[in-house]
Amino acid sequence: MKKSMICIVCPIGCHLEVESSSDEFVVTGNQCKRGPVYAQKELTSPTRPITSTVKIENAIYNRLPIKTSGEVPKAKIMDVMKEINKLSFKAPIKCGDVLLKNVLNTGVDIIASRSL
């Protein structure tokens, strides 16, 4: 099977050509070694990082930006968002603080992405 896809690992956005059979993936068009890894994962079990905000009190703003420590399965994004929207914190929070461990058993944590 031959497939063209755009690598979304970084903003460069390489145009990948993937030739796949039952036992191997051959990827061309990538500028770095993350391209082939992305292509294989995207065609078998796609995942995405999530960034959002949560409620924070006693800070200069009402929202604290957060990110997932890794990528979550694409199909679970909306469920993870529901968990994120239940969270609420009081300042001070440090960038990198773990706000919720192992969200929905994905093995991924919710992390503060700034100090506030």
């Binding site: 755009i6 979304i8 903003p11 956005g13 990082p49 959002s52 905000t53 703003y61 960038c95 700034r114």
Partner: protein
Amino acid sequence: MNNYDIVVVGGGSAGLAAAIEANKNGIEKVLLIERDIELGGILLQCIHNGFGLKVFKEELTGPEYAERFVNELKDMGIEFKLNTLVTKINPDKTVEYANAEEGFIQIQAKAIILTMGCYERSAGAINIPGNRPSGILTAGTAQKYLNIDGYLVGKRVFILGSGDIGLIMARRMTLEGAKVLGVAELQPYSGGLTRNIVQCLEDYDIPLYLSHTVSKIVGDSKLEKIVVSKVDGFTPIPGTEMEFEVDALLLSIGLIPENGLSEAAGILIDNRTKGAIVNESYETSVEGIFACGNVLHVHDLVDFVTAESRRAGVAAAKYIKNELIKGKSFETKPLKGINYIVPNKVNIDNLDDKLELFMRVDAVYKDVVINVYGDGTLIKTMKKKHLAPAEMESVKLKVSEISNIKDCIEIEVLV
């Protein structure tokens, strides 16, 4: 009157990098002036990831990227002012600013670095027929409301323009429960990074209507409905109308360098970039005033802003130390297929070992060649599989390759 070596105007990604780099290069009296309540600029509302791959070799969110530079600046003890608006910059390098504590103040700088960033084109710039109800915002304004203040500006949303902020907001508002009905782009190609088309639109089945625009706005006090039409060039084609019931229309229709202060200082502006005309040291037409980041030309990656601003910071430090060499320079000229080139002028004596030229193409090209000419002679050829206006291109030239050039470097896309 207080005296400074370098005054940096604007505390976003460009200003932070320029101030830090000037200080690292031996300039003690640096002042960074920011109008917002904290340093960091627009990065603070760009909570998505994708920042820092070139500068830090890891993928960060906007706030994380900003925080690293803000911490570095503070650790270095560089002076900065918040809640402070620069009201005037003069060619004699006096800077006038105002804030609540000090009132109106004038200071004297030896050099100034302009890092005011850019602003969004708004509804007034495109004359959409119909009413003027509430619910029409620029994508960046909606982003600030959502990510900083926590307000979702609509439940049924349409986005006009496929710039990166619009694409990012399509995903962001979907995640927060809004229904994004589509994105219309006037051009036959997207104005954003392809990566964002994939992960912001395709992931959420949001349709992208290329060669389409919003042809009518309906609603009295609040936005009720928009009409989207296919276009022939810029003109809506009758009979192609689609109606969308929406309560918010976001505009992601372009960014323009914020050069009000620069123009008032008499700095010459490039018609193509809408930023200052600069030389290889990022010095504008007014000696000792430098410009970098989105105030110079709109970048698609903050990593490129940082790299450019570091070079400008180094150059401004050299200027203070009388190490910038004045003298003959040649020009850079865009030919067929190239929209603009930065910098506009090059004095080869101020280059270390190489010259890097940044440019944007004027359309999408596939399997083409970029040719670089020095005084009319071909000096470099680069094969390109894919070129798009949304993706900045660069050409690196060794000093040895360009040492004989007298008049100009010209660049073209050969189809």
